[in-house]
């Protein structure tokens, strides 16, 4: 607990520190490439024949996903805390790449834990991390995916806590991580809000984002939560079926999760009757996690955000459709949000506005998509 208390104190101090915030803003702008565009997807809109669809282009950020918003923030925090060594977990590899990138920028030692199954699915990202100077450690415990990588990163952190900073990549884990990651990712929603007002002169009617741990979605949603007329939809991985083990849809009515405690957080957890955490499946490594950020659990129970799931097959279709219609290859994670956007847009009027968070680009996924399409 002491390291978490130290982290909490350091985080709040940095939040009130103008020089910290100005360094963060500078890096987000000049290193990561913010602001990202809010793009009117005219052909996708036409294809659906409903609401006007806008894409928040987080895929255009340096390293290709929203993850770097958080890693820049937390690496600055680690430096402020005089930690020279960074450990992180990664699922799809995007958070690992973003962490390795910012560690390279500041000359910090970087160790990334990654499940063996994910290393296979995201081979290219493994090599990218190594090029960036990070050590990627294979995790062979449990399901060999994101959750096991988090366990291993936590073990490393508690063992080397004096010189090591744990850079958690999603809005998960013990306090203050969910809050800190949300704050760093909220730049997505703040920008989108400003941009839609410029484009349309009004706020959107609906927001859609995919939800693994929940960092890109909470980042988009959070600055709009007070606007009660805006509908928000979080999209979970429906995987290959509704049985426990076939999906990562924690809020599914059938075969979904129950409140539980995993990795220092109480939230919805996919688990068996004995409280053993269940295996999950998704075609996208970044959504393949049995629990969900606690703030999402709150928003779900409060009825503020609606959570739905999209199957592997529908995500694959959306992946191809967006590529062909807009010339944008989305990450498989983001393709889940696009698939839902296609459904939702059709149920909306043509004078309504829908903003979809395109959280990452799909270059990392082309091999696994090819495998899936050929099988």
């Amino acid at each position: 607990m002491a390291p978490l208390e130290e982290l909490t104190a350091a985080y709040f101090a940095s939040r009130d520190d103008d020089s910290f915030q100005s360094e963060l803003r500078d890096l987000l702008k000049n290193y990561a490439g913010r602001p990202t565009p809010l793009f009117h997807a005219a052909r996708l809109t036409e294809h659906c024949g409903g609401a006007r669809i806008y894409l928040k282009r987080e895929d255009l950020l340096h390293t290709g996903a929203h993850k770097i918003n958080n890693t820049i923030g937390q690496v600055l925090l680690a430096r402020r805390m005089n930690k020279q060594r960074i450990v992180a977990e990664t699922g799809a590899g995007q958070h690992g790449v973003a962490t390795a990138t910012v560690c390279a920028l500041f000359g910090l030692d970087c160790v990334v834990y990654m499940g063996a199954e994910d290393m296979r699915r995201q081979e290219l990202n493994v090599f990218r991390m190594q090029l960036l100077g990070a050590e990627v450690r294979e995790v062979n415990a449990g399901s060999r995916t994101l959750k096991d990588a988090i366990n291993e990163a936590l073990r490393d952190w508690v063992t080397n806590v004096n010189d090591t900073y744990y850079l958690l990549g999603s809005a998960l884990g013990p306090h203050p991580y969910p809050l800190m990651v949300r704050d760093y990712q909220s730049v997505i929603g703040r920008e989108a809000r400003k941009q839609i007002l410029e484009h349309e002169g009004r706020l959107p009617d609906a927001l859609i984002a995919c939800v693994g741990g929940g960092s890109n979605s909470i980042g988009l949603f959070h600055p709009f939560l007070a606007d009660s007329t805006i509908k928000m939809i979080g999209v979970e991985a429906g995987g290959s079926g509704n049985e426990l083990g076939q999906h990562a849809a924690r809020f599914n009515v059938a075969g979904g999760g129950r409140p539980g405690v995993l990795q220092g957080t109480m939230s919805y957890v996919l688990q068996d009757n004995n409280g053993q955490v269940a295996a999950t499946h998704s075609i996208s490594a970044g959504l393949d996690y049995p629990s969900i950020g606690p703030e999402h659990a709150f928003l779900h129970d409060a009825g503020r955000v609606e959570y739905v799931s999209v199957s592997d097959g529908d995500a694959l279709e959306a992946f191809q459709l967006l590529s062909k219609l807009e010339g944008i290859i989305p990450a498989l994670e983001s393709a889940h949000a696009v698939a839902q956007a296609i459904k939702t847009a059709r149920e909306m009027r043509s004078d309504q506005i829908l903003v979809v968070n395109l959280s990452g680009r799909g270059d990392k996924d082309v091999n696994s998509v090819r495998e899936a399409l050929e099988s």
């Binding site: 607990m1 002491a2 390291p3 208390e5 415990a141 449990g142 959750k147 096991d148 988090i150 366990n151 936590l154 073990r155 508690v158 063992t159 080397n160 806590v161 004096n162 129950r258 409140p259 539980g260 405690v261 995993l262 990795q263 220092g264 957890v269 688990q271 068996d272 009757n273 004995n274 409280g275 053993q276 955490v277």
Partner: protein, 262 residues
Amino acid sequence: MGRIADAFTSLKREGKKGFIPYITAGDPDLATTEQLLSTIAPYATLIELGVPFSDPMADGPVIQRASERALKHVFGLQDILDTAARARKQIDTPIILFSYYNPLLQFGLKRVAPAAKDAGVDGVLVTDLTPEESGEFEAELHAHGLDMIFLIAPTSTDERLKLVAEHAGGFIYAVSRAGVTGAREKVSEEAEKLVKRMRQFSSLPIAVGFGISNAAQVADVSRYADAVVVGSAIVAEMERCAGDPELVRKVGQFLDGITGCS
């Protein structure tokens, strides 16, 4: 007084230090666990019975593998308690459950204490439940005369040690160093400092664990601690003897060696 307090009181009277072995319930199956409880009881001041969990984030690879072996069979907390209850007919040694929070939470916090009491369990240690969050469960345990045991670590501030002292029952479990369970060549000097710091705030017995794997280390830690916990070394011995019909006897031999009573 409960069995835990009695055990430490008689140790003190005899001027002895305690020995606390750990095993994971269901490794490799619950029938073996039942036999092991009887076999290790004569060596033990108290027995820690681990509840296997799919995500044992406080454990090193040895105890992780024990959880994986156990979870090849589907069983729940009640099955573990039934095993303890059968062993309880043979032994009088205190037994505590060493668990992660989720298996207890899913069993039902209100159900755990009475069921554990019925099984002859004397206390519960929850690795991932902090004193700040433990109020409800602690009250349930106390209502049934069970102790709630807490971990402290070298990184714990004095404020945290005080907080633990306010909540802890039975004894206090001092983690010898920052990190997870598992054998180390050397027991950290931090452990002794931690025990000394904790004595300022609590008069409960203090056991030291994590990383203690041989007789020399047990003797060394016994200089300043009231008891020594050995877990991964025993579990590793069980792993070495996997499939051996003599497994239970060999664990007994191993305990002869580590406790110096053969």
